[in-house]
């Protein structure tokens, strides 16, 4: 501390004492060890990227730093002083700020009210009006234009992230961690955020950039640390190692070239399977999230829907699954026995037609973690009758466990002890089995490792090819949409803004996603 006071501009002194230093950190959750003996030093004036595939422990690490999780073992040192961070509030007081992928803002409150929660200079009794005035001045200074009196749910995703950045700036943080905060932003918006990050570095702040995208880490950061299965497998300056070496570190021996799966265009039967006409669906706050979407999916065809998160794709899939009211328009499913109008018929009717559904929040709506694997299968009306034959369910569970290579102690284990990937496999296994005619999926391979993700995408493609299943696969990961879809539609602000065939150039899709 004192050295900074005496030599405020001495770069070498700053470089010697890390802003944040993590030593021998361990953290486990029931069923998984998320962090194993992690060591990390972050210095002032440095952008430090943490790379790792999904489930490598990146988020756990940064949430531990931010006081959300308490570590099992290990020390955190801030500016050379050992620190026990007990809560996010505590972390903020020590100069650490976290910007997450999902904006950590309360939707029903206004921007000013949200930021008022962070700004300690205002007392508990001070009025919201005074916070609004303060914010207007500050926004002017940083060149961010968001009305502080707007409720957060009315903001776009990019605007919400800007509010988060504004928060970090206002708090005079010494270290800001971006937890996949830029991953979902379109390229142009991403650049804007990078500018803020560079500005922050210039002022002597330290930045932790958590991401699973190698190019992103290479583009902006000074230093990269790679995590795999909760362990640090390498830490180096950008430019010291090649991208292939990083890939090897991230994925280990399992690493295979993702482009090896067939890129060929398939010829699809002419019969229509899903016909959507001028669909209008409201979002959670009463405004239209889907604005007149029309599309057709043929038998055996897979439609991939790409788009920046929060552009109506979630509401679209939910309304197709019968879980959200359709205000206007129709959905017609053509199954073997004929055409069925399923608009607002409810999930029971839709699922009865042989529709599988992989929802957006698996733990909330797709699987019950307090129940066993067997119960999570038997709960589907297509997989058990009034009297449940538990022996048959057990056989089914065993066969799926071996088919999908699920790691579990038994078929009667509660799902909550499984890791995120294994849990997801149970859900996918069940839904692919019941998807006789149609599969609806939202981010179907989230939290799966690369190999399993490719396997699942191939299963979906095989089922479409061999059994004539049609699918609507929405993913926030453009690579996934390009790998799985026969056709690709891009959704932007609730409207379909582009249709592409398989094998289209990535840049072309990105362009319509943003504008």
């Amino acid at each position: 501390m004192t050295s900074e006071v005496f030599f405020p501009s001495n770069k070498s002194t700053q470089a010697q004492t890390p802003v944040v230093s993590v030593c021998g950190l361990w953290k486990s959750f029931p069923g998984v060890t998320a962090l194993r003996d992690v060591n990390l030093d972050v210095y002032a004036g440095e952008i430090h990227a943490i790379l790792g595939e999904n489930g490598a422990g990146k988020s756990t690490l940064v949430k531990t730093l931010y006081g959300v999780y308490v570590p099992d073992k290990g020390d955190i040192t801030i500016n050379g002083v050992k620190a026990v961070i007990t809560s996010p509030l505590d972390a903020m007081r020590r100069g650490l700020v976290l910007v997450s992928q999902v904006p950590q803002l309360i939707d029903t409150l206004t921007v000013a009210e949200n930021l008022a929660l962070s700004l300690r200079q205002f007392s508990l009794m001070s009025s919201v009006k005074s916070v609004e005035k303060f914010l207007l001045d500050k926004e002017e200074e940083y060149g961010i234009r968001i009305n502080p009196n707007t409720e957060v749910w009315k903001l776009s995703y990019t605007q919400k992230q800007l509010v988060e950045v504004l928060r970090a700036l206002l708090l005079n943080a010494t270290l800001v961690a971006f937890d996949e905060a830029t991953t979902l932003l379109p390229s142009s918006e991403k650049r804007k955020l990078y500018d803020f990050i560079r500005l922050f570095r210039l002022k002597g702040g330290a930045v932790l950039l958590i991401t699973h995208k190698i190019p992103e880490a290479m583009e902006i950061s000074d230093r990269v640390t790679v995590l795999r299965k909760g362990e640090v497998v390498g830490s180096f300056k950008v430019g010291e190692v090649s991208i292939d070496q990083i890939r090897l570190m991230m994925f280990g021996e399992r690493f295979t070239q993702p482009s090896s799966t067939g890129n060929s265009e398939r010829c699809v039967e002419g019969r229509e399977a899903i016909v959507i006409k001028d669909l209008w669906v409201r979002g959670d706050y009463g405004t239209y999230a889907v604005k007149g979407v029309s599309l057709t999916v043929h038998r055996g065809e897979i439609l991939g829907i790409a788009g920046v998160a929060g552009n109506g794709q979630l509401e679209l899939v939910q309304s197709l699954a019968g879980l959200r009211r359709v205000e206007k328009g129709n959905v017609i499913l053509h199954v073997k026995d004929g055409n069925v109008e399923v608009t607002n018929k409810g999930p029971a009717v839709i699922r009865d037609l042989g529709v599988g559904y992989i929802p957006d929040e698996p733990i909330k709506t797709g699987i019950s973690i307090d129940n066993t694997i067997e119960e999570n299968l038997a709960i589907h009306p297509k997989l058990s009758s009034f009297l449940i034959n538990w022996r048959a369910v057990k056989d089914l569970a065993s066969s799926l466990i071996s088919k999908y290579n699920v790691t579990t102690p038994s078929t009667t284990a509660r799902v909550k002890i499984l890791s995120g990937g294994n849990l997801m496999k149970i859900l996918i296994a069940r839904e692919l089995m019941v998807a006789k005619n149609v599969l609806l999926a939202y981010n179907p391979t989230r939290s799966l490792d690369e190999v399993s993700a490719h396997y699942v995408r191939r299963l979906i493609r095989d089922k479409a090819l061999n059994e004539g299943m049609s699918a609507v696969v929405v993913s926030e990961d453009l690579d996934e949409v390009m790998e799985v879809g026969d056709k690709i539609a891009v959704i932007n602000s609730g409207r379909l803004v582009g249709f592409f065939r398989r094998g289209v150039d990535r840049g072309e899709i990105e362009r319509v996603m943003v504008t």
Binding site: P347, L387, I388
Partner: protein
């Protein structure tokens, strides 16, 4: 203090440090079976009773008297009756609690069971009529007829109108129907309007008590002099009363009913899709919706099942030869249900919502319940100055055992760790 999640076991040392003000960290884990299913309930009962004993001790109830009377509850012949009633009520509540439907309205549902069963018993399966004093003697020998009021001015007799077994069966069915229907009101409010069922079931208990009073005072009021005087119904025709098992106050019919309910609920729960769906409705109702099952129907189902069983328990109280009639409720703290509807919540929670454990804890809690009653009469006889009421003696132990249980469960479900 910090809340976290992790796997290792929690120790007595940790508890001591918690008590001495150390920093507490809570983490999620599942302790071993024995500790979980036996340790927590027994420990809660122990600590809860200790707290109650201390509370009562402060006003001068000697500790040894407390211990003796509670201990006597475990051997009392009355205990068996309470165990059977609590078993019947609690298996129903467990079914509903498993679905995360917190039915706290068993009291009201029992009341409706009493009313419907009583109505069938008093006005359909039998009836009470005035006869002229001169004819009274000629009726005495007629089978199925008994004298309710032998007053020389207006004698009243009760006439059996059907086979008593059929009559009892009708009484039970009517009670179950009424209890179930009453339970469906808060169920609808929860499922379709989103009104919290804990509040609405409790509020409906108060409504049920007043409906009961109204019906007993006006509609079902008896003909006999005592009935007119004390606002109560006539006694049930003794042929319709349930049959006491020799040497006890428990009746054959309620034993059969509770065993029947126990076995059928166990089967329903383990081997049918209804049981599975109730379970999943409790852990993740959105999953039900997503796979195309209307989760709201299972809220209704959970309430219906527990309400029907509570109705049966209500009529079992009424048809006990020791009771046999409905009397106006003087004060809502002493309803004719003996507050068993609330006590059954205790049994369900102590059983960790595991049906197989319900009989055990039904017996344990019945013993405490009976012990509390013994304590009250003993205290009132020996220390008349203390003025301990029944409400104090039932609610304080129930409340403190439950509170200790709730906290202990968290301490074991999430093992506790401490940090500087």
């Amino acid at each position: 203090m910090v809340v976290v999640k992790r796997v290792s076991a929690y120790t007595i040392c940790d508890l001591l440090r918690l008590l001495s003000g150390g920093k507490l960290a809570v983490r999620s884990s599942r302790a071993c079976f024995d500790l979980y299913y036996v340790g927590i309930p027994i420990l809660s009962i122990g600590i809860g009773l200790l707290i109650s004993a201390i509370i009562f001790y402060t006003v001068g109830v000697p500790l040894d008297l407390f211990i003796n009377e509670i201990g006597a509850g475990f051997q009392s012949y009355q205990t068996l009756r309470y165990s059977v009633l609590l078993l019947m009520l609690s298996v129903g509540l467990v079914m509903s609690f498993k679905a995360s439907v917190w039915n706290v309205g068993a009291e009201g549902q029992m009341i409706w069971g009493m009313l419907a069963g009583g109505f069938v018993g008093l006005f359909i399966a039998s009836c009470a009529i005035y006869v002229s004093p001169s004819e009274l003697s000629s009726y005495i020998s007629v089978p199925g007829v008994e004298v309710l009021d032998a007053s020389p001015v207006k004698p009243v007799i009760s006439v059996l109108r059907m086979n008593p077994l059929l009559g009892q069966l009708l009484m039970i069915l009517a009670a179950m129907l009424a209890g179930g229907l009453w339970a469906l009101i808060p169920a609808f409010l929860k499922a379709y309007v989103g009104i919290d069922e804990v509040a609405s079931t409790l509020i409906l208990n108060y409504v049920a008590y007043q409906v009961y009073n109204h019906l007993v005072a006006y509609v079902m009021r008896g003909l006999s002099v005592q009935a007119r005087q004390f606002l109560r119904t006539d006694r049930l025709n003794s042929a319709l009363l349930f049959e006491s098992l020799p040497g006890t106050t428990v009746t054959l019919q309620e034993v059969i009913l509770s065993l029947l309910f126990f076995v059928s609920m166990l089967t329903l729960y383990k081997y049918t899709s209804i049981g599975l769906r109730l379970r999943v409705a409790g852990s993740n109702p959105q999953l039900l919706r997503s796979v195309g099952i209307d989760e709201r129907k299972y809220v209704l189902m959970a309430m219906l099942l527990s309400g029907m069983l509570a109705g049966a328990a209500g009529v079992s109280i009424l048809a006990n030869p020791g009771i046999g009639k409905l009397e106006k409720i003087a004060n809502v703290v002493t309803p004719p249900t003996f507050n068993l509807g609330y006590t059954a919540i205790l049994v369900s929670w102590l059983s960790m919502l595991d049906l197989r454990l319900v009989p055990v804890y039904a017996y344990v809690v019945a013993s405490l319940f009976q012990g509390g009653g013994l304590l009250q009469s003993e205290v009132n006889a020996r220390f008349p100055g203390l003025s301990l009421t029944g409400a104090a003696l039932t609610y304080i132990p129930i409340g403190s055992i439950l509170l200790v249980y709730v906290v202990l469960r968290v301490l074991v479900d999430y093992s506790v760790r401490f940090r500087r």
